[in-house]
């Protein structure tokens, strides 16, 4: 297909007089990793929140899988095929790893909270949800940790769980906000391999500070400064862009 799975046009978010995200346009395609980099406060996380519906945009347009989703609430965008992970680990700490993923998998079931049949079924009864959950568990590499409470996991494992929960919702588009943050070298390497594997079936937006990882993974790079896109190109072109170097990458990396 030649259509982008997710596309944003002139997406803008103003907080009072401050334009945290200013007229940002981007397209996400299947089998491509689109990385967004920029200094702290550049608006990367706000952009992610706009794309996922966690924040409503002030103006601009959002299309997901060919459908205009501008202004939709987060849960509806999620069900339309978007999955996201959070910069700050955002999981169900008292639940076990398996229950965290199971709950995520259940989100794709019929949502009928008023239906008494849904009060009397067993949560573990749905084979479709179980299949989604076990696939996500397998991919995350947390299988032998599945009966542990999420709160008992290491920081890196919690990041893995964060991704696994996102995968259990079987999204078309993945928004990953700093998936490598706070990970050790070995964990980071594992995660990079996982992301490369996921890339094949998903359109992926990656917000990341680890430049080595970004250049190892990204097919396309967007550089943001002060809410604005200052460059958007292939990694090689971005690396050579003097404008970007002075704004962000630092002179010596050239």
């Amino acid at each position: 297909m030649f259509e982008a799975l997710l596309s944003a046009r002139q997406l803008t978010k103003r907080f009072g007089g401050l334009a945290a995200v200013n007229e940002v346009s981007l397209d996400l395609w299947r089998d491509r990793i689109h990385a967004v980099i920029g200094p702290n406060g550049a608006g990367k996380s706000t952009l992610t929140n706009l794309l996922s519906g966690d924040l409503p945009p002030s103006s601009g347009q959002l299309t997901l899988c060919g459908i205009d989703i501008t202004g939709w609430p987060a849960e509806q965008i999620s069900r339309q095929g978007l999955g996201r992970s959070y910069q700050k680990t955002n999981i169900f700490l008292p639940f076990t790893v398996a229950d965290n993923i199971q709950l995520a998998a259940l989100s794709r079931e019929a949502q009928q909270p008023w239906n008494p049949l849904r009060w009397l079924q067993q949560a573990t009864q749905s084979s479709a949800a179980n299949a989604r959950a076990s696939r996500a568990l397998e991919l995350s590499g947390l299988k032998d940790r599945r009966f542990l409470a999420a709160a008992a996991l290491s920081h890196g494992e919690q990041r893995q769980l964060e991704i696994a929960m996102t995968l259990a919702t079987e999204p078309e588009v993945l928004l990953l906000d700093e998936p490598l943050a706070g990970m050790g070298a070995a964990e980071a390497q594992r995660m990079i391999e996982l992301l490369l594997q996921l890339k094949q079936d998903h359109a992926m937006l990656l917000v990341e500070h680890d430049m080595d990882a970004v250049f190892a993974l990204a097919d396309h790079l967007t550089v943001m400064v002060n809410g604005q896109v200052i460059a958007s190109d292939t990694p090689a072109a971005i690396r050579a862009n003097p404008h970007v170097q002075s704004a962000y990458l630092g002179e010596e990396t050239a």
């Binding site: 996201r84 169900f92 700490l93 008292p94 949502q111 909270p113 709160a151 929960m165």
Partner: protein
Amino acid sequence: MSQTKANIEVLPRSVQLLLVLGLLALAAFPYVGTDFYLQTVTRMMILAIFAMSLDLLQGVTGLVSLGHAAYFGLAGYALAFLMPQNEAASLWLTLPLAVLASALAALVIGFFVVRTHGIYFIMVTMAFAQMVFYLFFDNHALGGSDGLYVNFKPSATLLGVQLFDLDNKTTFYYFTLGALLLVYGFLRRLLWSPFGRALAGIRINEHRMRAMGFATFGYKLSAFTLAGALAGLAGFLWGVQTGYINPELMGFHMSAHAVMMVILGGMGNFAGAIVGAFTFEYVLEVFKDLPQIGSINLGKHWQLWIGLFIVLVVLFAPRGLLGLTQRVVQGRGGPDV
């Protein structure tokens, strides 16, 4: 991410055993207890149903309602209005209609209140309950501050045959025990349903639930309505037992007592709510019967003692009496998270 301390959802063997023993004791009680205590225990069971209905909101979904008594009282009033002056109305008519009245009120009020969070939810549920309270308190047509009499017990006839007689205190005792068991079994099953898991997810991290695609409003409203309906069942039974309904049943104290029962027993597993209701009522009786020492009548100040008691339980058994039982049996704290 606010709540990292887990509820006890899976009941440990020790607690299960305790519950079975408790059930046996309840089943055998009419054969050993006097008439007065039979009525007391019936009332405890009714309040246990009420406390369980609140636990669905407070313990499972994380919605602390300080106005839950409104739905308890409304069903009682519905029963009083449905009961004619000179003959008994059918149980099969009055029970569903009374429960429906509470459910409807909870649906309408819930539509507004479940949009709020935390402290605002507490305030708004309380405000709505006060409105309902004064609607009945100030309105003579609705019984006013005196309340209403329920002149007859509902008749349990089916096709002209009387199945049982709720006028008989022992029969009503077992009827209430049956309702208690049904509600407990239903809620325990619901806890492990997709609906129940979603409610628990909302308690722990509603933001993430929405990001994963759960339309949480519908879940919270359904829980609020269902909790209101079950509170209505308890209120209906109360009306049948006492034959009298007054606005106090919908008042702030009634709501607050239910919150305390749930905290006292241990939240989020329904067994705790039952234990809490029985303990609260028992302790209440004990404190009210305290003797006069010198010029101080200890029993008169029962509210002081019950307050102290709750403070002690919260300090030393933060997961309620069930959590304490688990800790005592297992030596020291089970899995802490």
